[in-house]
Symmetry: C2
Subunit: 350 residues, 2 copies
Amino acid sequence: MQVYEISGLDCYMDITVAIDAMGGDHGPHVTVPAALAYLRRNPEVNIVLVGLQDVIESELQAHKAAIGPRLRIHAASEVVTMDDPPALALRNKKDSSMRVAINLVKSGEANACVSAGNTGALMAISRFVLKMLPNIERPAIASILPTLNGHTHVLDLGANVDCTPNHLLQFAIMGAMLVSAVEHKPSPTVGLLNIGAEDIKGNEVVKQTAELLRRSHLNFYGNVEGDDIYKGTTDVVVCDGFVGNVALKTSEGLAQMISTMLKQEFKRNIFTKLAGLVALPVLNRFKSRVDHRRYNGASLLGLRGIVLKSHGSADTVAFENAIERAVEEVRNGVLRRISEQMSLLSEGAA
Amino acid sequence: MQVYEISGLDCYMDITVAIDAMGGDHGPHVTVPAALAYLRRNPEVNIVLVGLQDVIESELQAHKAAIGPRLRIHAASEVVTMDDPPALALRNKKDSSMRVAINLVKSGEANACVSAGNTGALMAISRFVLKMLPNIERPAIASILPTLNGHTHVLDLGANVDCTPNHLLQFAIMGAMLVSAVEHKPSPTVGLLNIGAEDIKGNEVVKQTAELLRRSHLNFYGNVEGDDIYKGTTDVVVCDGFVGNVALKTSEGLAQMISTMLKQEFKRNIFTKLAGLVALPVLNRFKSRVDHRRYNGASLLGLRGIVLKSHGSADTVAFENAIERAVEEVRNGVLRRISEQMSLLSEGAA
């Protein structure tokens, strides 16, 4: 019996990650080689590939790999598709690779789960199977975005469309504990996403949240605006899931537009193509700095278990990064830190 | 007496724009040369420069220009600063260049007003002086953003932090009428900014707004996501001012970060600098495609008069574009179109 019944909290020495091998746009074509590449680089980690046994086996064969003491297959007969409504995936696909991978976290056979599948289903099933941490009302999705001076963590990115100030306070605590754990920052700064720096700005929920954050023991920076995300003004940016999702998707759209336009301009004629060739090493260096694959892996926070959501379109490199994030969260005791802070908060309130 | 008492609705043949010459980070150093440049190119327009007489005169002299039949000065003794709280600017600075410029629209001496000053003050004063159009409860800020295939109009960008479905419906009508007027599109497509394409996505306000939009006579495309803004999926994107402001500022931050990183990479060493020199014409072409100056000029919609807000940091080119937008809105009867649609709507409801 673990403190707070947090699944897979102990056994840091021997970390096991359950991978929903069928999830994502490319399924085992990405998840299996990513797992193999990760294992080659990380001899201390074990991986369980969850999904259709024969499909996973043939993918392993294609990579001249086989199961062994650190890599095993856990069969699951069903697959949650990207179009499955979360409620249906939860109710009707009890032997899906996604659900079985989460079950392994619940039972303690794995310390974390990584899936590139349907976000809504992953959230619904994780919440149902793992349950919430004490005193946390809502789970949140936290992701990393690049900034001028490094990166920042933003949450919630879409789990909650309507939030109360208390929900946002809890998100702030979870985000701060995530950053303090995986980045070894004792007191990460927290910004509240708003439409102006002044206290009088924003809607009622945001104003009340600022009040709660000021009274909390978090390192509250104050209100931040959309551009502060990419300026890297704070270590953590807190917002409700509607706003966070719009900010994230808008960023994806803008980055895609800029990338497409740059390509169009360099492909315009023979001279611009030559210029592109000359500039290629520089452009590649730039690209690697903003490469979204490096930031792949969103944390589903607030659950009694570590669950990482990879982008559905992730390639092998990106999916490997999501596995790495899961391992880092286990290794640095993210769940324990969140739990401790939440008990401090509830003791303070009591 | 004009229909609906819309100030400056008539006299399209002889358009007069009142410019808050003192507004913005650079005041007359930008507004005066922008006005002069605009007049050179547009012989059919009259401009009234509103502000401190001597300051404007000396700026005119610096450009070897003088007042004349198409360019005059209207003295105003006060200036609204960027830090003035809107309520104080409204109450205490009754002879500010901003207020006097808006007064000229109210009195019919000008057909539109352009200001690069304090957005909150501009909104508060415009609303107080000009009043709202019939059946419109809230003004909205609409701006143009570049897309892969042209551009799109997004509103609200920050005037309203809490919106009802009816407010959002009114924004949709105003946005659609703006686009139909200035872009001569008979039935522009309207997208509702949400966190998923499916009907079940989003918060209650958004779901109810979708229902109103489906029942309206607008060309409602359905839900759009953040990335659809830059894909140019619809002609108009509707959202509340909190979400819109975050999307806009996040975009500004990301664009700024990408631009800075590109510059950093090209300035890294002598080889990258040479590559940058070779790539310069291509990079400049790219830059001009996403040049925010081309999109300068946000419309304050819903008022009984045309008011354009220029970015505070606008340069001459950017400010000229804001003047051009004001003239286009007058020329194409934006206010009349919005009023007509709103009466249709209220007749339909009655």
